[in-house]
């Protein structure tokens, strides 16, 4: 029972990070119908920028904002200078995938040049030292901070998307770009904001991931991208509530398979699952209660 409760805590803290990251990936798909394979690199840059900010002595919540801003800026730049010209040129959608991967490669190179190629650790924050012992369950203050930060980010995101005119504009573009133009939505700025939000979520997720495992490296984006894609499929492409549920599900699933089966099968279970889901229910596990995109 204690092991079970402990795994729940661990699973929720990693799952919340997956959820934040996957929301960004799935948002871009929902709005623009493209899969941005550079999201993993945005996450990595977010972690690196956040690390620099932490070394500068900034407190954790501020570094989170810095990381989010860094990721968001990259998102905007990629849309402005890559994805938009590509759409204008009327290229095949394969071109977008190839270009986004090339961008990821470029960013990994840049990160290596600036931040070095070694794995780095975060400066010890006071939060990782505080550990509560409830029954037999160890809960780090850090884990609580991560879960709380992730929930706040998701609520903020939900608020922007559902309650503001900006969110309405984004949802209209997601519904149909032509319709959005007809009703006077400025599609260009709406897509830029979409990319900013998605990039910011990736950057924030990168910082949280770096803090949780205390590891930052230029190559952390690849495995994160794999997780993000997995969650996207679990929840259904473009399905935001599905991405949240899928993120927590993947986090819990990974932790439990390590605890009760074998660490060797942690990844195999995730991929086996998405393979199965794609074959049986390609719209995702949670398409029942949310069919609408974005």
């Amino acid at each position: 029972m204690e092991v079970f409760a402990q795994q729940i805590v661990n699973g929720l803290s990693i799952g919340s990070i997956y959820a934040v990251f996957a929301i960004g990936c799935t948002l871009i798909f929902g709005v623009l119908n493209i899969i941005n394979l550079a999201q993993g690199a945005f996450l990595m840059i977010g972690a690196c920028v956040g690390l620099e900010a932490a070394r500068f002595g900034l407190p954790l919540p501020v570094t989170l904002l810095v990381a989010a801003f860094g990721g968001g800026l990259l998102g905007v730049l990629s849309e402005q200078f890559m994805f938009r010209p590509l759409r204008k040129a009327g290229g095949h959608r394969w071109m977008g995938l190839v270009a986004s991967l090339a961008l990821a490669r470029l960013l990994v190179g840049v990160a290596q040049e600036i931040f070095g190629t070694e794995v780095q650790a975060y400066p010890r924050s006071s939060m990782s030292a505080i550990i509560w012992q409830i029954g037999g369950v160890r809960i780090q203050a850090l884990q609580l901070f991560i879960i709380a930060a992730a929930v706040v980010l998701m609520l903020l995101f939900a608020f922007i998307l559902q309650r503001t005119s900006l969110g309405r504009a984004i949802r209209t573009v997601a519904f149909s770009e032509d319709v959005a133009r007809i009703v006077g939505v400025r599609v260009e700025s709406a897509t830029l904001v979409t990319f900013f939000i998605a990039g910011a979520l990736a950057g924030a997720a990168g910082l949280l991931l770096g803090v949780l495992f205390n590891v930052v490296s230029p190559f952390m984006g690849d495995s994160a991208l794999v997780k993000g894609l997995t969650v996207m499929i679990l929840g259904g492409l473009g399905n935001i509530p599905g991405a949240v549920a899928g993120g927590f599900l993947l986090g819990l699933l990974e932790v439990f398979s390590v605890a009760y089966v074998s660490s060797a099968f942690r990844d195999a279970i995730g991929f086996g699952l998405i393979f199965l889901i794609l074959l049986v229910k390609p719209t995702g596990l949670f398409s029942g209660f949310e069919e609408r995109r974005a």
Partner: protein, 300 residues
Amino acid sequence: MIGLFEEFLSSYGNVVDLCLLNILLAYGVWLALSGNMFTLGTGGFMALGAYSSVFFTTQTGMPFSFAVLIGGLLAGGAALIIGLPVLRLRGDYFMLATFAFTEVVRVIALNWESVTGGAIGIVGIPRYTETWQLALLAIAAVYFAYALRHSHFGRSIAAIRQDDVMSQTMGINVLAHRLTLFGASAFVCGIAGAMAAHLNFFIGPTDFGLLRSVDALSYPILGGFNALLGPLVGAIFTTLLPEFLRFSNQWREILMGLLVILVVLYLPGGAMSLLQSDRLARIFRRRLIERHSIEQRAES
């Protein structure tokens, strides 16, 4: 003259081998692309070919050529098995399913230590792959692509690429055509994997991941998948370029990334579209846009 050639080979042999191998891979991926299948399964199929052929040559002492053939057949067989359910999926879902396949293969390779050597991989594989074999395979691949484009089958494929619903109503068995192409693509990738394994002395699970699949995809797309020699040009270009940028590892990655983005942005039809006359290029582009809109209509 021959002496000069040998001197060239001895100093640049590795690069030449790599080029030929990637050309083979490029045509393997091109087969899938020509049926509108954006496959990320390349890494998985290569891994199947590589690990099985190494198993047969080192554990059972099977002749190299048989082992390579079996590696290719295994990869092709796997493609036929997973292809049946996966090919029902469209567009991005197909891509993600093949990506999941590659990852599953990687995880198996990571954990099945008695055969694959786990995370460490297999070291000290005898080097059986010769340059002439690779050259022969590459030429065969180009010829096969040429023959395919001019066959009845190839024309059916072209029709499917334009509009699969229409093709089906015209009496083309779309699923069978796609499955054949997918299997053939995996077969070629499996052979390429087997050749690569016996070229490098070493294979490990990280050799055949997402990155490998994506690199393989970028060859025909950058070269231009509508031109016969597009995959060849793309493969040579993307293999040679890093060799010229050897001065810094990081800058190589940065420049490669930048260059690929520029090619995609300014030559959306691939590098081979440079060679076509202006008029042809315009028609070609219009057709691409039309196809794009047809696809969008089909998806919505």
